[in-house]
Amino acid sequence: MNVVPIVAISALLLFGIGLYGLWSGRNVLRWILAVGLMETGINVFLVLTGWRPGGAVPIITGAFSTRGPSPFIDPVPSALVLTSIVIGLGTTTLALALAVLHARAHGDLECGDDPENAEVLE
Amino acid sequence: MRFLNMLPQLLGVSFLAMGLGLLLMGLGRQFTARLQRRVGPPFYQAYLDVLKCFSKTSITHGFVMDLGTIMSLAGLIATAYYVPFVQWTPTGSGSLVIILYLMTIGYLGMAMGVSASGNPQAPLGIARALALMFGYKVPLVMVILAMIVVTGSSDLLAIANAQQGGPSNWFLLKFPIGFVAVEIAFQAMIGERPYDMMIAPAEIASGPMVELSGKYLGLAFLLHSVQLYVETALIVNLFLGGAANPATFFGKQVLVYLTSMAVNAVMARYRIEQGIAHLWKWAGSLAFIQLLTTKGGF
């Protein structure tokens, strides 16, 4: 069974759900979740790019030749996904902190216009 | 040296201009009186008036008034030196630009002198006069420009010379529309009805002259007389071909002046903005047509 279409469609779905989430409301938490979904979708897609049919785990245990098709799946996307997940974690945490700030300042999470004529501190 | 030789001629033209101008004034009054079925003053009345004025005491409101009054007559007399009398000027030049601008110094002097009197009626009259000048200068200049286009010279002597050889060569026939325009402008230039709003005795107490007394008034009279001389001579040179002898020349001047006095005698006064609008609308458009047809384009 070819998993590529299934994975690709699920990646696209995740991304699409995320986009819809962004568009459909202005709750900060909703945005955070939506962005998380989008990132997950992209990560799935990223993993997919490295995949090749019948590829082995790219851990070199013996000698091999670089001539001819590589026996391994591409390891780089996996590395990228790892990094991307870490970054995603960082930004999500930050966003949650911002959500807390928002709740403190406005009492809710509905992110509307920036209030005018407010005192500004340096 | 050349200038010294010129002096007697200058002196002569000065008195000629004043003398003929005063005579014109006298004739004009006489003519108006006849139109009104009156006996009228004698033709030499203007001389009497001027001499009387000089014989009186007078008041001044300061040096500016003296300066302005002197400047005004000097400007007009200097203009007379550039206006051809029988194809001749003492300075040897009849530059139209000089004439148009030198006349202005006369008006400036007059304006300055009377405003210095401190009577608000005077600047009021001057403002009217200048506004009117705004009105008549443009048509006049346009017609003059048409002549410059045709003759290729801005020298009045040349323009007058171009019309020698009988009435058929007169620019009156060549520029008939322009002549009408200039006649209308002339009426305003000499400040006769319907363009006498700058004097308007019953309204602003004779405007510029309100504070003029004695010799100041006399100088103003002389100013008017030289102005009449210069302006009628201008028209005679522009349209009526100048003249070959002084008598003819003066005759033409009288003709021009009396025409305007006739209009004066039967018209009522315009309001200022009416006057200017009238000048621009009628004299201006006539002059414009004249210039456009002469030049054949912009």
Binding site: R26 | T57, I70, Y81, I98, Q121, P123, R128, L291
Partner: protein, 627 residues
């Protein structure tokens, strides 16, 4: 030594300006005056040919071809520099006294720097140096004009905005040419431009347009004619003469430098002509004539002395532009001549108005009057200046106006000549009005104790008067240098000697003119002396229909006709939208601000931010698909 004279003229004044910032008030102004005087002296002493061009390259070839400081003293530059530096020396002498403790505007350091950059504009041999000096001069002017109150600042901002618009266009034009011939040098680019025009290359016109935009905005020609009314009027009083006399001439200088070579050295038939002159010049002619008319009318209607003079400046630049556009030796010479004259008489007028304001603190004309009795010398200066400004003989202004008209007659540009006559007559109207309202009529009781200006301040005024009369007597004083300029552009000289000028349709001996007027004046003076005794009466002893003014509580201020002076003319023009361009510019500015606020507010809203992600993504994808 002489090698460094040119850069010294440009760089030294700003450096001295920096120094002056740390000096006490009097020394600052003294330094300014001495610098101006030294500049004038040096420039009068040298002749254009004697000075070697100066160049110092900046090693930044990557930015543009041969950037650096390139200066050359061409005859044209020399003429403009000499005239402007002589005028400036007089203005600064006036400023020296004007800026006493009570009136100090504190601008001396900036003024000094401005002198340097001003010289730089004339001396620049490449467009970048030109642009740098030009732009810095604009900035300094902005600061000088607008450093005080809000109103003055918006005036300065008007000036600066227009100037920046023009100067950036200039830069673009210079680059356009430099991309083809690889040089920013003014002479090179003009050769190229002339070649383009001659060969009918389409790019010539936009380039010329870009250059001209800079010069037309600076020279305040229609439709950019409204800024002097703000800037000149709101500038410090002693700075206005410089602004109106010298600074505004930069535009004419540029126009002269670019247009004269381009249109005089293209072969016949290369450029389409209208009425025998190349069409751009023909359009310039009408634009200038229109400027003269509009400037005149605006001057007639204004009640503010400085504003009136500013509008008068606009009108005079219209004359200069019209003369320049006549495309003839006579016209070009007339433009230069009138420009030099305008420097003097407008300088004199602004100076006298400054002196009056210095003594009385008034600018609105209807609040003054009768000051001739208190400030006779100032009055005389103003009188001679307005005689010159109205183009009335025998002062200098007549000579140049006469030449302008001769140039127009020569090309039979009769309708432009009509417009100029109209403007000239109007000039007489507003100038008389200024003279009357400020100096004549009743002396207000508030100004009973006004005194004449001190000696040092009177000195420049006397100098102006002498200059006005000298040039009116002997136009050759200016026409000789003008002929050098013409020769340097390969044009014929105007036929003239010291006192006689030969025009296209007539010639005039100005000495005779001066003489006959003098003679007439002497004659009339004789009459005057022969006439009856005269007595001096007080100003309020007037014909008042027999009434005693005191009975009616009539004070001298109220017994003065100066407000709404030309109301009939105003009524006449009530339906003609004279302020239309001003209103148009204001409307454009408002529209821009409204668009701006739409942008600013629209993007600030929360709804937009989520939308813009989708919108932007869609936009980008569209781009991608299209590419």
């Amino acid at each position: 030594m002489t090698k460094y004279l040119l850069p010294a003229l440009v760089i030294l004044p700003p450096v001295l300006g920096l120094l002056a910032a740390f000096l006490p008030r009097l020394l600052r102004w003294l330094l300014l005056f001495l610098t101006a005087l030294a500049t004038a002296t040096v420039l009068v002493a040298v002749r254009p040919g004697e000075m070697m061009p100066f160049s110092a390259a900046l090693p930044v070839d990557a930015l543009g071809p041969a950037l650096g400081l390139h200066l050359a003293l061409t005859p044209t530059a020399w003429f403009f520099l000499v005239m402007s530096s002589l005028a400036t020396a007089s203005f600064t002498l006036f400023s020296l006294v004007f800026n006493d403790e009570r009136h100090d505007s504190g601008i001396a350091p900036l003024y000094l720097a401005l002198l340097g950059f001003g010289s730089g504009v004339f001396l620049a041999a490449d467009w970048i140096t030109f642009f740098v000096c030009w732009e810095l001069a604009s900035v300094l002017t902005l600061i000088i004009v607008g450093h005080r109150r809000g109103h003055a600042f918006s005036a300065g901002l008007w000036y600066f905005a227009l100037s920046a618009l023009g100067s950036l266009s200039l830069l673009a034009g210079a680059w356009w040419i430099a991309l083809h011939n690889g040089s920013f040098r003014i002479d090179d680019s003009l050769v190229t431009l002339t070649g383009w025009v001659a060969s009918g290359r389409a790019a010539a016109w936009p380039v010329l347009g870009l250059f001209s935009l800079a010069f037309l905005t600076k020279a305040a020609l229609f439709p950019f004619h409204m800024w002097p009314a703000f800037a000149h009027a709101e500038a410090p009083d002693d700075f206005s003469p410089f602004l109106s006399g010298v600074l505004i001439k930069y535009g004419i200088y540029g126009l002269f430098v670019v247009w004269v070579p381009v249109f005089f050295h293209t072969p016949e038939g290369a450029v389409r002509t209208i009425s025998g002159i190349p069409w751009p010049l023909y359009i310039l002619g009408w634009v200038s004539a229109l400027t003269a008319v509009v400037g005149t009318l605006m001057a007639i209607f204004t009640n503010d002395a400085k504003r009136l003079l500013a509008w008068s400046t606009v009108a005079n630049l219209g004359y200069i532009g019209t003369a320049l556009s006549a495309h003839s030796v006579l016209g070009t010479a007339a433009a230069l001549f009138h420009l030099a004259n305008h420097m003097v008489f407008k300088g004199a007028m602004f100076t006298t108005v400054a002196a009056v304001k210095w003594r009385t603190g008034e600018r609105e004309m209807h609040r003054m009057g009768g000051l001739a009795l208190r400030m006779p010398l100032t009055f005389m200066t103003f009188l001679l200046a307005i005689i010159a400004a109205a183009g009335i003989p025998p002062m200098s202004g007549f000579a140049s106006k006469w030449m302008i008209f001769q140039a127009l007659f020569e090309k039979q540009l009769v309708f432009q000549a009509t417009a100029l006559f109209f403007a000239s007559t109007g000039a007489f109207l507003y100038l008389y009005r200024a003279l009357h309202s400020i100096f004549l009529g009743q002396l207000s009781t508030r100004h009973e104790h006004v005194r004449e200006v001190p000696f040092l301040m009177a000195l420049p005024m006397v100098a102006f008067m002498l200059a006005l009369m000298a040039v009116g007597f002997a136009p050759g004083l200016i026409l000789k240098p003008v002929n050098w300029v013409l020769a340097s552009h390969g044009l014929d000289a105007v036929r003239s000697n010291w006192t006689i000028v030969v025009g296209a349709t007539a010639h005039i001996d100005f000495a005779t003119l001066f003489g006959v007027f003098g003679f007439a004046a002497a004659l009339v003076f004789l009459f005057f002396v022969l006439g009856g005794r005269r007595t001096k009466v007080p100003m309020m002893d007037n014909y008042t229909s027999g009434e005693d003014p005191a009975d009616w509580g009539l004070t001298p201020e109220r017994y003065q006709y100066a407000y709404a002076f030309y109301q009939p003319i105003r009524v006449l023009f009530s339906r003609i939208p004279l302020g239309a361009t001003e209103a148009l510019f204001a409307r454009v500015a408002r529209a821009l601000v409204r668009t701006g606020s739409l942008v600013a507010d629209g993007f600030a809203s929360a709804a937009f931010s989520t939308w813009s992600i989708l919108l932007g993504a869609a936009l980008l994808i569209l781009f991608g698909v299209l590419s």
